[in-house]
Every structure is written in structure tokens, then in C-alpha cells.
Amino acid sequence: MRERAVGRALPHDSAHLHVTGRAAYTDDLPEPRDLLHLAVGMSEVAHARLRGVDLGEVLASPGVVDVCTAEHIPGANNFGSIVADDPIFADDEVQFVGQPVFAVAAKHVEEARRAALKASVDYELLEAILDPLSAVAKKSFVLPSETIVRGDPDDAISSAPRRLRRRLTLGGQDQFYLEGHIAMAIPQEDGRLLIYSSTQHPDEVQTVVAHATNRLAKDIVVICRRMGGAFGGKESQAGLIACIAALASDKTGRPCKLRLDRDDDMIMTGKRHDFVIDYDVGFDETGRILGIDFEFASRCGMSADLSGPVNDRTMFHCDNAYFLENVRIVSHRCKTNTVSNTAFRGFGGPQGMFAIEHVVDDIARELGRDPLEIRRRNFYGKDERNVTQYQQTVEDNIIDEIFDKLVVDSDYEKRRSAIREFNAGSKVLRRGIAITPVKFGISFTNTLLNQAGALVHVYKDGTVQLNHGGTEMGQGLYIKVAQVVADEFQIGVDRIRTMEADTSKVPNASATAASSGSDMNGKAAGKAAAKIRARLTEFAARHFSVSEADVEFSAGSVLVGDRSMSFAELVQLAWANRVSLSATGYYRTPKINYDRATFSGRPFFYFAYGAAVTEVVVDTLTGENRVLRVDILHDCGDSLNPAVDLGQVEGGYVQGVGWLTSEELWWNDAGELGTHAPSTYKIPTCSDLAPDFRVELLQNSANRENTIYRSKAVGEPPFMLALSAFHAIRDALAGSPDKAPNLQAPATPESVLRAIRDASHE
């Protein structure tokens, strides 16, 4: 009997290490004897020419060994991977508060940090652009603005029976991984360099360090066993930290470690883009959207970083699950004198979906209808009205089915009436409810990134070492891929050791990002294992003179004709007969093709779907709000590991609620971030979890596409289920007295009070 290793709710592969404190993160690795610790001296102003940087007192500070600045970079002073506009150290100009100007190396971390404060920098202040709207007004962009047009939106809007226009503001978000950025560079013989980096993208760390230090890729090894969270924040940003460690190591000839203090991490590294969004929509009396015009302006910060693809994804997701027949989408990628924003779970998608969900909600409120009805009215069809604004046909649409089931399961209609009744009789507290859909495109929009590799070794004792290009940041990738390999060999996952991500094992790996980790690395590892299995099958058939069809791997053993042996026995025999027990696997995502110049084609292999109903209570006097009940139905296809996937759905939702309620990034007029530590930046705590929290994975929902065991990607899509929480708060405020309150995200108590004040026209 074949035993399925996939589909089982196995614990995280490191769970037993997590709970005992034995899981080693980069800062926990043994330190080389002559290790130096680094600290970074940062710009204190938002925009200035550097007239002089005096590091005399830094160098004289106790314990200091050396300093490192732009002039000490032998190669390229850049860690930007797409556009070369991201200096490692500011050269003659600083462009945001917190930009690295120099690094100092000392024997103890405390000495380095103390010394870093002693620089004396002479700034010639320049005009600073501190918000997206000012950037638009001054045409300050990191990349050219982009437009997608389909149909005739102008005519459709102007001739529509009804029309609404509005400006939305939507805050950014700090990743707030619990483990801050860190890298340790250790010199090796003959000019080689070994780097331990907390990174989602070891290959990119290898590349940018090579460019900065004038090395070739062959001379750099980057290793990451695990990260203490990443969420996109360690996709491109890890390169900066590793470059600084590598440069200091080269200059001093000693191992160097840079571990950012939490405040420095939040000030120095990028976050989710905040947006200003203008929309103009025409619709009919039934609430169907006839034409829509979107103008997006996002805060990219001082460099391009990943802002191009992030904003592209906003353009691809401002339809969410809705058919937009006549649409114009304009996207401005604003250059501001603030930290360069970067990837964060959803990667621009959440902001696009925020926009269209707001539009749909506003239409419903304008027409006096339940937003549920207007959402359904605009859903993509199955056979018609099923082509996205970027010309991809939605072939796997199941949003109606998910909605229908969730509306019933959550008792939505009855609760909605009960809430109306409650609100009519309540003076201060109001409740609200909302249901929102998620349709999220899976694949890197940059087609070339959709490839992955793996390297599988089978040892003589029948145990397996598994290497693949994916990194483990808590999402459970390692256990899922191990389950795939276990399934292929029909052995227990305890026979498989997943090795750290290591550029010397699997080269040229894409970032573990875009929710693609298990899809791509699962396939690649599965293929590698299948190769070895095929060799074993061929060998066994030959050796025991049976047909290959009579060789069966099942539940720890192998049946060869009438003979049964353990997997280990067959492996031992195969080795003794000189059969190769190591193989690489390679996977490229099929079917996708996409022309960036015209924004058309099939950027996504498939879509992941889900929906959530959230109920909230809001205090109309204090603006405080809390989620009371959540019902989620989410589509993971045939889940590789339901426990891991459930964790992604739950965690993604709560993180999304944080983005839309309590997590506020606040800059002062000088461009200084005021919210750079958990004391001022508030992610959800335990008590913020709804007392009634019901999450279900959609059953019998195999992916129509041939993904790994017909599963679906799950990292990002659930994040956007949280839009239901925001609209539940709007629902609670509706009619007090504004029918469609102007609530800015995040819906902090202040934001709610502002919406109520504006509605009262005081």
C-alpha cells in the first residue's frame, strides 16, 4: 500500500527545536574567535549633500578596530538588484533618514554601537520630498509611470447612470519579523568568502556581494538555515546587510557580523508601500461597474528596489475577483526621501485589492444595498466576463462557490440583521460585518524567476539529504518539500534531513517569495527524487529480473516482484552495484508568458481563492475597535500539509488586520520615522485575536493546474482576507451619519474618530 506522506498535518520540521530554544538562527551560530561586530552610522537628515564625514572620534572610541565607508568599496557601491540605484553607503548625497553612511567594526557589539553615534557629519541640506502626493506634483519618480487601459473607460464612466469619485489613503506596514536583519561574513582561503545571512534570497546576496567586493560568484557561499520571520522584508534588504559585513570583513581581514538593533532595522530597511489612490467609477442601478479609472501613487522611497514589480502587482490585482470591462489603471512609482520600500507579503496586491474593495463597498452604500450583493454582481464569470485587464483568462474561478458556502456557514444574513438591530439601540458601541473575496495570482510576474532547483542525496543507509533553493522563514516550506520527497521514496520524513539553503548546493535560486516556495521547490525536489527512484526501479528490475512495473515503493519498503525489502536495503544494494544515488531536479513553471511592455499575457499560472466574514465592534466615542468573530474559507487546493496551510491562513489574516487597524507608520516633518520599535509600532497581540475565530480550508478543491500534488500556494493570499475587517469597521460606522464613511487605513482609534468627525462636518 502506498502511504501518502503529503496531505498530512505534520508539525513544522523544527518545531521541537523552536520550543526548546535549540533552533539556531544566524546570531546563535558559533562565533569565530577573532570576530568583529559592526554597527552602522546612519544619515540624520532626509536629503543632503555630504560635505564631510569626520570619523575621528568613531575610530578613537574604545574597542574600535576599523571603519568602512563608500570609498572603501572596491566594486559597485550598490545592492539594488533591478535598478542600480541603491548605494550600500551614501557617497556624496544622503537620501533618507537612516541611510547608511559608514560602518564601524569593534570587538564587542556594544562598543561598535556606541562608536557609531560619535561621527560628525557635515550636511548641506537639500529639499526633501516626504510624501507620494508631493512627489507626483514634482514628477519625482523612481521609475516611469505605467498605464493599463482596456475598453473605453472615459465613455463608460461618463455615460453610466451613476458615478462616484473618491480619494483613498492607505498606510504602509513594517514587516516586523521577530529576528532582525543579520549577516556574518567569514573569510575563507584563496579569497573566498562565506556568508551566513538571514535572507529569503541567498543567490541575490551572493550576486550583490560579488559585485561590491569584486569577486566572482564561485568564490562566495551564502548559507541560511532559517530566518526568524521575513515576510518579504528579507528579499532584497538582506543584500545590504550582507554587503556591509562582507566589505568590513575584506577591509579588516577578519570575520564580521552585522546584527541590526530593532530600531535601526526599522529605520534603515524598507517596508510595505503606502498609497494614495484616486478612483472614478461609473455603474448602473444594479451596482454593476461599467467603467473605472484608477490612479495609484505609492511611496517607493529613495530607490527603485522592488517597487517596479510591486506596483505592477497592484495593477494586476486592482480587479481582485471582479470583472472590469472598461478600465484605466495609472500607477505612479513615487520617489520620496524616505527609506526605500520593498516586498511585503502580497507585494502590491493588497493595495490594489484594497482599492477595488473600497469601490465596491462605496457603490453598495451609495445604492443602499448590502455590499455582498454588489460583490457578487461584479464577480468574474466562468465562461464570459472572465478576462482580466491584462488579458489573462480566469480559467479556475471558484469564488461564487466559496462565497455561497461561506455566507451560509457564517450565518451572514441573520447576523447582519441582528447587527442592524443592535446598532439601532446602542448609543456608543456599534457593530459591523463584511464579507470580502480574495483572488490572487500565483507566479512571479517576471517570468524568468519562475524556476527552481533541488539536489537530493540518498546515503547508503537509506536516509536522504534534501537541498533546494527555498529558504525557511517559518512558513513550513521545509516540511512540505520533505513530505514530497518522502512520498516519492515512500519513506518517513524522519529519514530525510533538509539542509540549510546554500548557494553551493543549489545555484541561481530565485527568492523564496511570491508564495511560490512549495510550488517550485516541491516540484524540483520531487523531480530529483523521482530521478533516483527511477534509477532504483530500473536497477531492481534488472537485478532481480522482473519488469519495472513489478517494482513498487510503498510505506518504507520496496516490493520487487514477490520479494520485499526495506528502502535502505535496496539503496545499499544499488550502491554496491554502482548506481548513482544523487540527483538534481529542475522545474520551470509552465504555461506562463507575459509581455511587460504591453502588460498582457498570462503572468499567473493559476489563482488562489478565499473569502472571509469579519464582525467587529467599534466605540464611536473613542474610535477603538475590535474583531469579534471571523469566518474564513480558503482554497489551498489539495493541501500538502493542512496544519502548515492553516497556520499560513490564520497568521496571514491576523497580520492583515494589523496592517489595516493598529499598525501605523508615522513620519514627522523632517522625514524621521517616529514608529521604529514595538513601543510605538503596534502589531497585533494575543488579545486582538477574535474570541470566535473559525477557519476552514476548502475541501475537494484540487488545483486545476498540474502543481505539486495539485496543491495551491498559500503564503500571501490569506493576508488579503483581512480586508473584511476594514470593511466591517466601515460597516459599523455607516450611517453615523455618513452612509459611506471616509475611513483612512489603518483604522486606528484616531482614524475612526477622524472619519466620524468628518462625517459630522464639524
Partner: protein, 496 residues
């Protein structure tokens, strides 16, 4: 006084550390000196809980062991003298014998990236040892100081509920859950052997640490070193070191001074020694003033409340300290001591300006006197912040209302977050004094708040909305007294 070493228990052994840097943190010591790397640094300011460890110390009568979670990232090592330290490594000597808390976290899939997990395990461990069957509310309260960015907390809450199920009949005291525990006699005896009759004093490269055990010695030392830093819970001073990288020359620790750790309920008032922790004093205050319960639930987090002291909160004098508005409306006073001289000062006269108070050189807060409640007096305090738990107030208010029928006999209101110091809202109070407690007069009082306070905009809130918030908070207090609203969004729909 003793020599330049401290002693505490770790892993069943008495550890003696010589030449301790007075401001070395427990976390630095664990990670850098012992290579015990299970405890993590997530923020180095006591706000994320990744560094949570547990301190076991003798109760005041010396007969019991009290377990307290603390943030090791801001706790100075010398304060462990005479205590037992438990870290995540203490719970499972090897991975084959997991502690029930750890087992439950695995079974419920309570870890994802795992970085916060050791801290959660330690907070759950304290819950396991102190509460036989926690409610959701009690779990939330116990975990309020631990941030998790991955799971959304549901599986961790599940672990907190299921961790008792597997609790075995075990001779290991650490594994015995609340309700099934033997008395940890051996641990108590060991700690008794570490107690010092004379306090602790040492000098390392010119930097001095004093932990006297009686108030006279304390006063004498401070009079000799008026520039010294008085260290209580260290929940703010810890950040001077970890964030501002300050070098403190002389540190005098309050936590061992018997008189400063006294908490007595007198006939007319509660006398709180300045070093009594927030965790110890809060239940006593709530007992007398139930209207302060939600404020105290939201006040910081268990690890901060376990270390932080009421005296420290007051002496530190932050304009957003949460205890002072309530204490101010209650008419609390401070006992101040300088050398041998003692004086009493009303709390509301203590603050002069931002970070400027009435203390003279060498003078310190010795105790807080909180008047007991009188009948027919309504006392309440409200906190306004972005998050329920472990947040710093954007605005904090407190009220004391005495009604004579429908007429206001006396009304006091004090606010934090609206001015450089915490202070009474005198104009607002005057608008209600002797007036009818009705909506019309209330609105006048709300309008008067605008002349009492000129708030600023900062990361916590904008000036205009701050003012609106405090006015609405007063309106809310009015409605509460009228019985028109009896729950906040935080208590709404919760079964405690």
C-alpha cells in the same frame, strides 16, 4: 557589605559571577557569556517578549517561591543576586523529555518561524505553574508581553489550553502544573542560603553597584552619591543602556530594601513602598478601586509589571505614565526622603515640567500613600492607545466624582499624554463643581478641556484628535455613570 560577586541559581547550580558590569543585561550574560542562546533578542526594550525568562524568588515571608516572567533584554544581571533564573533550556534537559508546555506547542502547531517561541514557552510556563485552568482572558493577559508575527496566536492559545492535558505524574517540580505541585523545598532552601543580611556592594573599574537591604543605608548611599542612578524595575533605565548606550557610573538598586518593598493597607490609606512591583500593587488598588481594573489590565505587560514598580513609574515622571492620572485624582501623596529627613508631598505638586520634578539632590521617593475609597465616590480611568495590550497611552484619563444627588460635590480629572506633565484638568473640573451632573454641564466641561490642554502631534496621535479623544472620553465617563454604557470594545462579547 560583600565582595564584588553576585550569586544566583541556574540549572540547579549556584552561579557566582565576579566583576559584573553593573548594567550588563541578563540576556547579554546568557547569550554572550554562557552561550545559552535559546533566549532571543527581538527588540532590546522589553516590548516583544522574545527574551522572556523566569525568575524564581523567595516570597517576603521566605516560605514560598514566586515565579515571575521578566524581559531579560533590559534586566540588569546584578538584580538576579539571590534568585533562581529559569530559561527555555531549563525546561527540557534534552529534546527527548519535552516539558508539557513545549509538547503542547508542538502538538498545536504553535511555532512557525520559532524566534518568539522560547519567550512564549516561558510565559506559558508561568501560567502553567500559577493557574490550573486559565480562561481566554487569563491567557491573553499572561501572553500580553509576547509578540508573534507568524501564527496569529490561535494555536498558541490552543497550547495554553491543552498543556495541562499531558501533565504527567512527575517528580520534577518544573513539570508539575498548578494545583498538583509539591512544595519546592529544595529550591527554597537553596535560595535561602543565598540571601544576604548586609546587602551587596561592588565596584568594577570605577563603576559602582549598591543593593542595600535597609532604607537608612539606602538613604545614606544616595546622599553620598546624589548623581547615582536609582534602579528599580529597570524597565526604562534598561533602555538608557540598550538604546542610548549610556554608561551609568553608580547604580543603587531598590529591590532589596525591605522598607521600600513593603505594601501595607492602613486604616485610611494604602502605603506602597516605592519598590513594590506593579504586579504586586495592582490587585490591592483594584480591590479598593474596581473602576481601575481595565486600566491596570492594559498597563504594560506581565514581564514589565513583574519588574516595574509603582515608585519607578512615578519618579520617572513620563508624561504618558499610566498610574499617575488615577493616583492624582485619588489625592495620593509621596513620601520623600533625603538622608535622614522625610517629607510628604501631594503627587500633583510633584511634577513641575517635562522631566523636572520636586526632588532635591539625594532625595528619593520612599513610598506612595493612596487614600482609601469613600462611599459614593466614583473612580475610573481610561486609556486611549492604538492597541489594547502593551501599548503606551496616547491619552490616559482618570476621574473621581462625588455626587450629592444630582449635584457634583466634587469632581477631579487628571490626564496624561496631553501636556509635558501629567496634571489635573482644573478648568474642566471647575466647570462642573457644584453644578448638576447633566449633559449640558458636561458639554461645558468638555469645551473647557481645550483650555486645560494644548496637546501636540506625535507618533501616537495628532493634536486635534487627541483633544477630541479626551473630550469623548469624558463624555464616555458621563454615560458610564448614567448606566448608558457598561462595556468597552475590549470587554464587549467576552466571557471572562
Amino acid at each position: 557589605m560583600s565582595g564584588a560577586s553576585i550569586r544566583f541559581v541556574l540549572h540547579g547550580e549556584v552561579i557566582e559571577v565576579d566583576n559584573v558590569d553593573p548594567t550588563r543585561t541578563v540576556l547579554q550574560f546568557l547569550r554572550e557569556d554562557l552561550g545559552r542562546k535559546g533566549s532571543k533578542e527581538g527588540c532590546a526594550e522589553g516590548d516583544c517578549g522574545a527574551c522572556t525568562v523566569v525568575v524564581a524568588e523567595l516570597t517576603r515571608d521566605g516560605d514560598e517561591l514566586a515565579l515571575k516572567s521578566i524581559n531579560s533584554c533590559i534586566q540588569f544581571l546584578p538584580t538576579l543576586d539571590g534568585k533562581e533564573l529559569l530559561t527555555v533550556e531549563s525546561l527540557a534537559p534534552d529534546s527527548s523529555s519535552l516539558h508539557p508546555v513545549q509538547r503542547a506547542m508542538i502538538d498545536e502547531h504553535g511555532s512557525q518561524c520559532g524566534f518568539c517561541t522560547p519567550g512564549f514557552v516561558m510565559s506559558l510556563f508561568v501560567l502553567y505553574k500559577t493557574n490550573p485552568k486559565p480562561s481566554r482572558q487569563e491567557i491573553d493577559d499572561a501572553l500580553a508581553g509576547n509578540l508573534c508575527r507568524c501564527t496569529g496566536y490561535r494555536p498558541i492559545i490552543a497550547a495554553a489550553q491543552s498543556m495541562y492535558a499531558e501533565s504527567p505524574d512527575d517528580s520534577d517540580w518544573l513539570r508539575q502544573p498548578c494545583g498538583k505541585q509539591d512544595k519546592p523545598t529544595e529550591r527554597i532552601t537553596r535560595l535561602k542560603g543565598l540571601q544576604r543580611a548586609d546587602g551587596l556592594e561592588f565596584d568594577v573599574a570605577g563603576r559602582r553597584y549598591y543593593a542595600p537591604v535597609d532604607i537608612d543605608t539606602f538613604a545614606a548611599i544616595y546622599a553620598r552619591h546624589p548623581d547615582a542612578t536609582i534602579l528599580a524595575g529597570g524597565t526604562d533605565i534598561g533602555l538608557w543602556v540598550t538604546k542610548q548606550h549610556r554608561e551609568l557610573q553608580t547604580v543603587i538598586y531598590t529591590g532589596r530594601v525591605e522598607e521600600l518593598t513593603n505594601l501595607s493597607v492602613m486604616p485610611a490609606h494604602i502605603e506602597v513602598g516605592a519598590a513594590v512591583t506593579l504586579a504586586d500593587v495592582m490587585p490591592v488598588i483594584i480591590d479598593h478601586y474596581p473602576g481601575l481594573e481595565e486600566l491596570f489590565r492594559r498597563f504594560a505587560s506581565p514581564p514589565i509589571r513583574n519588574a516595574g514598580t509603582l515608585g519607578g513609574n512615578i519618579a520617572n515622571g513620563s508624561p504618558i505614565g499610566d498610574s499617575m492620572p488615577a493616583l492624582m485624582v485619588l489625592g495620593a501623596s509621596l513620601v520623600l526622603r533625603q538622608g535622614d529627613s522625610v517629607r510628604e508631598l501631594a503627587l500633583e505638586e510633584f511634577y513641575h515640567d517635562y522631566q523636572v520634578n520636586d526632588l532635591r539632590p539625594g532625595e528619593f521617593v520612599a513610598a506612595i500613600r493612596i487614600p482609601k475609597n469613600e462611599e459614593a465616590v466614583i473612580v475610573s480611568s481610561q486609556k486611549w492607545s492604538k492597541r489594547f495590550d502593551q501599548d503606551i497611552s496616547a491619552v490616559c484619563t482618570a476621574y473621581r466624582l462625588e455626587l450629592d444627588g444630582e449635584v457634583v460635590r466634587s469632581f477631579r480629572m487628571a490626564c496624561g499624554g496631553l501636556a509635558p506633565i501629567i496634571k489635573r484638568a482644573r478648568t474642566c473640573e471647575a466647570a462642573l463643581d457644584g453644578k448638576h451632573w447633566n449633559e449640558q454641564n458636561l458639554e461645558r466641561a468638555c469645551a473647557a478641556l481645550a483650555s486645560d490642554f494644548t496637546p501636540i502631534s506625535d507618533a501616537r496621535a495628532s493634536a486635534d484628535i487627541r483633544l477630541r479623544a479626551v473630550q469623548n472620553m469624558l463624555r464616555r465617563f458621563y454615560l458610564e455613570t448614567r448606566g448608558e454604557v457598561d462595556t468597552t470594545v475590549y470587554s464587549y462579547g467576552r466571557q471572562s
